[in-house]
């Protein structure tokens, strides 16, 4: 299994180094200037519809495109005390959706408690699942737990074939993913009228933009059902963000400049107006608040005036906050747009 940037001692393990690289003089316009030219800066949130909780960096995989440098040797994990602060903050709002991510969020000791509490508050809960976690011995009842609590599973599967999937996510991950998807299907996930939602996530396995979501979804459905008997609800196409391990891949493979130019040239004002940070608040494993999971990984704090820790959560002040931007944001505004819920236009 590949090592994290941190374990390799790679300078890009540092958020500051990533921001320095992203902000270095380049032929493309700085993102904030591009937004200003489109009449979209300063960009403000329009409310909070999604309460996204990143419970930590521990993961049983080390995917090459991971924007969080997660892996088995990472120890950052959300504590029960911070999880309780999340639930307390959530209870004081009517935010409809709780989106739990990581690392492999299910491997956090407080994951199931968070799910139970959020569901008890009547919120829709999403689990960003790497699929292989469902096959781990101690997690053998995970699928049933998710089904019992009607948790939406958002599962990573970059392609409907092994070569591309394993190149991005690790040796034999495709086979394990198919096995896990079969398990979820047997529980009713992805099946019409079951109410158990199984959505897949496609990230390109290389330095290129994702295909059109509807077209690729149709191919995924046809190929996965034909060859593996797998069914699912929706496919979300997500552009790889030029940060962390994907940034390291871009630089090492000599694709960084062309990829950034590709993103900048594909800037879509409609996608820029619909970016997910405008309706999301992202909570880090240590309780710090961010505009999105990508800003969290770059340690880009909320702009002054907004509370910066879950213990100070204040929905009114967060709802109209100014969004912190840097050049990685081009990843969300290229082409059809990209968000944790796929294309935005």
């Amino acid at each position: 299994m590949a090592l994290t940037l941190l374990a390799r001692g790679d300078g890009l393990a540092s958020a500051q180094e990533q921001l320095r690289r992203l902000g270095a003089p380049a032929p493309w316009l700085a993102f904030e200037s591009r937004m200003a030219a489109a009449g979209l800066a300063p960009l403000a949130a329009t409310g909070v519809q999604v309460f996204q909780v990143n419970v930590g960096k521990f993961c049983n995989q080390t995917c090459r495109h991971c924007h969080g440098d997660a892996g088995p040797e990472r120890t950052e994990q959300m504590s029960r005390a911070t999880a309780e602060l999340c639930i307390r903050a959530l209870a004081g709002t009517d935010i409809p959706t709780v989106d739990i991510t990581g690392g492999a969020p299910e491997l956090n000791a407080n994951f199931r408690w968070l799910v139970e509490q959020a569901r008890a508050l009547g919120r829709h809960v999403m689990d960003r699942c790497n699929l292989s976690v469902l096959l781990l011995g101690p997690q053998k009842d995970l699928g049933e737990f998710l089904a019992r609590h009607r948790v939406e599973v958002v599962a990573s599967l970059p392609y409907f074939q092994a070569a591309q999937t394993d190149a991005q996510r690790g040796d034999k991950v495709f086979a394990r993913s198919i096995e896990a998807l079969g398990l979820l299907n047997r529980l009713g996930y992805g099946r019409q009228d079951s109410g158990l939602v199984l959505n897949l996530v496609h990230n390109p396995a290389g330095a290129f933009l994702p295909a059109r979501q509807e077209a690729l979804e149709a191919r995924f459905k046809r190929e996965l059902e034909r060859h593996h008997g797998i069914v699912f609800n929706r496919l979300y196409t997500i552009t790889n963000m030029p940060i962390s391990r994907y940034l390291q891949f871009l630089i090492e493979s000599g694709n960084y400049d062309t990829y950034m130019e590709r993103l900048a040239n594909a800037f879509n004002p409609a996608a820029a107006a619909a970016v997910m940070c405008r309706t999301t608040i992202s909570v880090g494993w240590d309780g710090r608040l961010y505009d999105c999971d990508f800003n969290q990984m770059l340690e880009l704090p909320l702009q002054p005036g907004a509370p910066r820790h879950i213990k100070d959560f204040d929905l009114a002040r967060l709802s109209g906050r100014r969004i912190a931007m840097a050049n990685h944001c081009y990843g969300c505004t290229a082409g059809a747009g990209s968000s944790c819920g796929g294309a935005t236009t």
């Binding site: 392609y159 074939q161 390109p204 290129f208 933009l209 295909a211 059109r212 077209a215 191919r219």
Partner: protein, 110 residues
């Protein structure tokens, strides 16, 4: 190194508008319409373009349509098969001219 082809020249394609903007605009409007989703999908059209790029041996087109095929969701296996289609037609085109050769041989021989 001096070469006739420079990868960065692809980005200068629109310089061709400078000589005759009207013709350029007409070409681009036609080009965009050709590659829009129609009876064939955008993905299928990109695969055809990739094959044709190999047939006409245009390095700019090969770069552009390799990227385009990936971004339409095609994989290397499909793209390789598309190139083989171009190869088969090019090879077949040579071979079928052998009939002309045989006609001439027959004409000239006792």
């Amino acid at each position: 190194m001096e070469t006739y082809y420079h990868p960065k020249d692809l980005a200068k394609f629109s310089d061709m508008a400078k000589g005759n903007p009207e013709l350029w605009d007409k070409f681009m409007a036609y080009y965009s319409a050709v590659f829009a989703e129609g009876a064939l999908t955008e993905r299928e059209k990109a695969l055809i373009a990739l094959a044709v790029a190999h047939a006409v041996q245009c390095p700019y087109c090969i770069d552009a349509y390799t990227q385009a095929c990936l971004e339409k969701g095609s994989n290397a296996q499909e793209m390789t098969e598309a190139v083989h289609v171009a190869c088969a037609i090019r090879g077949g085109a040579s071979l079928v001219h052998g009939v002309q050769m045989r006609n001439v041989v027959n004409q000239l021989s006792m």
